[in-house]
Symmetry: D2
């Protein structure tokens, strides 16, 4: 059967990235707290490689075969093995991989200690070239913010809202999702929870009003912590606050490359 | 050229609705306040008709021809003319039509009076059968809510958030988008605005804290107003509050058919 | 601590539904083929109850407590137990519940038999009132369609595209997700697959070109099968075809209530 | 009234970007073909500036005031004036601005010449620093692709689908949206249309089958044209094909910085 893909390209240009996008897949992720335990979740996956100028096309089915053959827990080293396998199967120089998935953590309500699951949207991105892995870990963490301006000028009360802290990091050593969540949560006026009894609601509200924060404060506080994390070589934090007094968001971004 | 669509169906079942979906179109909408004035916006449109059991297919290009031929301002009577034209072109019993579009209103900040545009997502839905038009008007209105429980139990402060009031109405007489927006806004703790100077922000916050409201309060207050609007024969209100202390929403729904 | 929620409502109207929306949760779902086996997936959940006219508010944290207490595999009877538990905890007349989740099935490529996972978006909706459960099962199934008109009039070739078959059923007896997927797939020109080697791609294409189908044909074929399924008392099928020659979709809907 | 924003920051870090996000706004855009004519559309807008380490916060209402004061047709020079005005109002070094909007063009069906509107999603992004404007224009163009592999190996037929060509360019001189659309459309197997009579459908299908193209072919062909456009200094093309035989997309990306 004719292999059209291996034929010559009409326009002889190398392609940076060619592959498959938005594949859904059940995955196992190892968590920090539950030593040895893993959690089941569902990921959306993009897989790609580079393509030299001389080939017309890549062989798309091999990406799916690589995913099938890889049936491991998702962690740093299994992620790297998958990238290496993709690179070899596709006879490419570079392999590129993104996993996006919700990650669940049991959180205790701050006053009653009632446990409940919270979900955090995570992103794992990796590129492997000449044996060198660039690894990016990201997590989106909802927090509560109380407006410092509103609190200072109002006669009782201040508007608050949900804000999303989006952290992306590149690292040389290990960074856990749990560490990034902790950094995001300490930066807001208060963490948010799935389950709060009335005593907890009072505690969260009072804690948040005692620590008002603009998006500017939140992004700086998170960036300050990430700056101190030795194994993080690059990071980007975006805070988006779903303003309760507006129909638009306020946002702030800090990006830092420690190698520059 | 063969007309496959007019051939016999393999399974002789009537089809409730067949047509095109998610067409984007610039449209003109007449507003209540600016007498005679119209506003330009962009709509996403679905158009469909019924299909008798005996025909294999409908003629999809005729829906687009009907839209092209119709180049009027969007209001009750032009909407009806479009439905009638679609029904005739497709030789159908029933025609069905949905327009979704953002609608803009100039709003004044409550203290300084500074004007700025707010956008509201609107839905116009119509079905024409045997000369009888069923007409549904909907609008999604963002408001601010302050939690009454949090306000009652906390020592200073209370959590607030953006909530969306989604109103859908069927009516015998005319209902304006502006009327539904007013009903939604009075039901929340405060309207939201695009532009607030500090004096306005204080006013909005203080007004909202003076009128705390659960989603239950908001949905009932809006439903109560809609119940009193004589020309409204059916309505549905959903309030969804993007809780600032949680990562999920609280919501409440009231639906009322006055003919039952 | 004050219980504001149990206080009197300002507007004494009953609320049809009040609760929480868009909670994410890991769940276990039992599959038909793998006897005794269950699969791990992630659901988005809405939970609500009715609220009598006399109460100001519901107690939102109890919904989350009900979900925590329920840690079973998702099936017809565990779903009913959760609804009953929610109704009791909230002291309500009616409880209402929606789970949305991706469901995975191993499918074999049609020629080489290579296995790979496909995902299908599912919806479970239930309402319990006076011991009576209304149960709705839904699944969205991607298929391929080849245009019969294009095939008839073109000199070689015909446009094809991905179409989504959305089935919703209410039933008295058991209906499996797998059964609805099979009904949707037989209705299109061909099923779609995650992994196809070249031999498989040829087979899929040739099979699809031998069975051209409009959205009208697909919706009727699926409706015809659902009409014959005895335990299905009501159904709705929508087929949306992402036309490859247009930037909009073609769609068709059939709804049938066997009790009418 | 206290100006909390102008107070000192707790963490003295400069912020790369702080502002407002997802504002909706009616805008006027000048088109190339209709000399002197402008079209009405609706944009979603992000506006931001940098913030020095010493200030606690920016003044968010000034972004909205700048948008209000700017009531011009959207083109290169009015865009630059808005950026300069934002920079001045916020007393910043850099201003950053994104407009996203649907843009409409009348297209003629290829055989009958029947006119109908097509919509293309556009992005205008600009950053102004020390009088220097970085300007990025983007457009997403739907096209049809016929699979060359399927066409070569099948006994009659080949699968086709809608693909989206996403072009982003930075330029020194003027680039029109219409030019980028033309580049994207010639790269696919065929353009897509809003309105096609049967004669047109035959023509589109036959044209497309005479010019089969992988995502790799489409991305290279578009990149080749952009490489030749002198005023384009940087570009990125992504082609995403909504495969009709799969439930995932195939994609390819080429990025080129001519200054490197």
């Amino acid at each position: 059967m004719k292999d059209v893909q291996s034929g010559p390209a009409e326009v002889a240009m190398p392609i940076d990235r060619v592959g498959v996008k938005n594949l859904r897949l059940p995955v196992l992720v190892r968590s920090r707290d539950n030593k040895g335990e893993v959690q089941h979740t569902v990921a959306s996956v993009d897989l790609s490689v580079d393509l030299p100028a001389r080939f017309k096309g890549t062989h798309m089915s091999r990406f799916i075969e690589a995913l099938r053959a890889w049936s491991e827990e998702l962690d740093y080293s299994s992620f790297k093995r998958l990238l290496e396998d993709v690179r070899l199967r596709l006879q490419a120089e570079r392999a590129h991989l993104i996993f996006r998935f919700p990650y669940f953590l049991q959180r205790l309500a701050p006053e009653t200690g009632t446990p409940a699951l919270m979900d955090y949207q995570c992103t794992l991105l990796g590129e492997l070239e000449s044996g060198k892995l660039t690894f990016e870990l990201g997590v989106d963490v909802p927090v509560m913010t109380v407006c410092p301006c509103s609190l200072a000028i109002c006669n009782g009360g201040a508007h608050s809202q949900r804000a999303i802290v989006r952290i992306r990091t590149r690292s040389t050593g290990m960074v856990w999702i749990e560490d990034l969540i902790a950094i995001a949560e300490q930066a807001g006026s208060s963490p948010v929870y799935a389950l709060l009894k009335r005593e907890d609601e009072r505690r969260v509200t009072e804690d948040a009003f005692a620590k008002p924060a603009f998006v500017e404060d939140v992004v700086r506080s998170a960036a300050d912590e990430l700056r101190r994390l030795e194994q993080v070589s690059w990071f980007r934090v975006e805070v988006e606050s779903q303003e309760s007094i507006h129909n638009h968001s306020a946002y702030a971004i800090i990006e830092l490359d420690k190698n520059v």
